[in-house]
């Protein structure tokens, strides 16, 4: 695969779709949550309005250069994992720039945004942000423990890092999905998924009551706008990775959106049911069952 300029246009289109889907998914999920609480909840287009409002503030201020770079890093991280990933299996248009790297690249690119965000929040000089970062980094690295194992299991199973190849291997009936060919790895990955979605029980990072909003406390107006843009794209991009690795990928947009929604709902359902963990509790939790399951998933492959 080589690079062609038209690729940029297709990628941007994909990005635009994902961005809107992400925003709508956010509102949908919140609406569902509200309905559970017998409320009507926010409007479907509320995230869009919020975003516009954030970009239309009149005054803003900055704490320094990293304060600018943080949202940029963050969104670059989000968009990055999107553009390095094939979105629609079999579609030349929506394979993005996946020729540049493979699943390992995605795994590590996730941290690109995290790092930038943390740095910017740090420059905000706000102690609560720093506390939030400390919690966030601790928790995210803990959540990666089972994730790495589950991913390794998939790589071993397919003997490839290439997402396209992994998706290809899952074509031809849903029984070929990793979900069914390697259920333990999938369960592990889905447990790790919870940790990465910043939802209860793993939402202490943002803990609005104790450390006002956590790392992004000081971010406002257009800075917050860029971050919100990322909040729309990043979870979907991450979800797409999971879909590709565990749930057979997607051959067209509706399937992709449906799968993304279902996956997203998984964290919502869990989050609605379970109360929040403290940071060390969540780290310990990830080092228990998810870790054991992850090891099991690899052992199964090694022995079987």
């Amino acid at each position: 695969m080589t690079f062609e300029p038209i690729q940029i246009a297709w990628t941007l289109l994909g990005l635009f779709i994902v961005f809107n889907v992400g925003l709508l998914l956010t509102s949908t999920v919140r609406k569902i949550g509200a309905r559970v609480g017998k409320r009507r909840g926010i409007r479907f287009f509320q995230p869009h309005i919020d975003l516009i409002k954030n970009y239309s503030f009149r005054t803003n201020f900055s704490h320094g250069i990293m304060f600018y770079l943080a949202p940029v890093f963050r969104l670059t991280g989000g968009i990055g994992i999107f553009v390095f990933m094939p979105i629609i299996y079999g579609s030349a248009h929506f394979s993005n720039f996946s020729f540049a790297g493979d699943a390992i690249l995605i795994m590590y690119f996730i941290f690109f945004g995290t790092l930038g965000m943390a740095l910017g929040a740090g420059e905000g000089a706000m102690p609560f942000s720093a506390i939030g970062i400390s919690r966030g980094l601790s928790q995210v690295t803990a959540a990666e423990i089972p994730l790495v194992l589950a991913f390794l299991a998939v790589f071993i199973q397919n003997n490839s890092f290439s997402i396209t190849e992994i998706v290809a291997a899952q074509q031809g009936g849903f029984l070929n999905w990793t979900m069914f060919t390697n259920p333990i790895a999938t369960i592990t990955a889905m447990l790790a998924f919870l940790g990465a979605m910043m939802r209860s029980p793993f939402d202490i990072v943002l803990a609005p009551q104790e450390i006002p909003v956590g790392p992004p406390t000081e971010f406002h107006s257009s800075f917050l706008g860029v971050l919100s843009t990322n909040r729309a794209i990043f979870p979907i991009a991450k979800t797409i990775l999971y879909i590709n690795l565990f749930f057979g990928g997607a051959t067209n947009w509706p399937v992709l959106i449906l799968k993304a929604f279902l996956l997203y709902m998984w964290s919502v359902v869990v989050g609605t049911v379970f109360p929040r963990f403290r940071t060390e509790q969540s780290i310990r939790w990830f080092m228990k069952y998810p870790l054991i399951l992850g090891i099991l998933s690899i052992l199964v492959l090694q022995l079987g």
């Binding site: 516009i52 409002k53 009149r58 006002p212 992004p216």
Partner: protein
């Protein structure tokens, strides 16, 4: 934080040199609000209108309950009233909020915090004042330590009368605020910048230990 904390002091640097610290100058940005910035509008009217609509439909309240009205805000997010429907949400940080609700009486001590929090919000920002205490002091009108008229210290966009107003009244207040913003009249922040000297004079008159810069960014 007290007056002592903004006194000048000397510290010893790593090379043994003496360093003069003037907290007000060294720790705080000295700029005051710029009227031009506060009134900045898009040159294309339709865009400004659109922006005003977005602002009015996305009101993020700063979670800061100042008096007995703080408890009246809670029902707003319950199924019965559910302000989320109207694009109203509660944020924990002033950086990300654009509505500040002064929910009841303000002691001088709280006023200082309220001023600080208000000034830390980015413009355009709106101030909703609840209860008679914010209007004329209410039942605390002759107290030695509570203010009588909020609009002498901060620019109020909408008053909601009552002692305390019920959530329905507050919802009505929000409606008025939305209309105000949509009409392009929600310019409390600009008013604050315009009459900045006057507000500061009033504030400083009653806040005797003025231990912060003139404007808190």
């Amino acid at each position: 934080m007290s007056l002592k904390d903004i006194e000048k002091r000397t510290v010893i640097g790593p090379m043994g040199e003496e360093i003069e610290i003037d907290p007000l100058r060294d720790y705080y940005c000295a700029a005051t609000p710029d009227l031009k910035m506060e009134q900045r509008k898009s040159s294309i009217p339709i865009i400004e209108k659109f922006a005003n609509w977005a602002r009015s439909e996305s009101l993020w309240i700063l979670a800061f309950g100042t008096g007995c009205g703080g408890i009246e805000l809670r029902p707003l997010v319950t199924p019965k009233y559910d302000v989320y429907r109207f694009g109203i949400q509660i944020r924990a940080t002033p950086r990300q909020s654009n509505v500040f609700i002064i929910s009841g009486y303000l002691s001088v001590k709280t006023l200082k915090r309220a001023i600080r929090a208000y000034e830390q919000m980015p413009s355009p920002k709106y101030l909703l004042a609840l209860g008679s205490c914010t209007i004329n002091g209410g039942m605390y009108w002759d107290s030695y330590n509570t203010i009588n008229r909020l609009d002498y210290y901060l620019p109020v966009d909408v008053y909601v009368a009552g002692c305390m107003p019920r959530p329905e009244s507050i919802l009505a207040g929000f409606d008025s605020l939305k209309q105000l913003i949509k009409d392009g009249k929600g310019e409390g922040a600009a008013k604050y910048a315009e009459k900045f000297e006057w507000y500061k004079k009033n504030q400083k008159q009653i806040i005797k230990d003025w231990d912060m810069p003139d404007y808190n960014w």
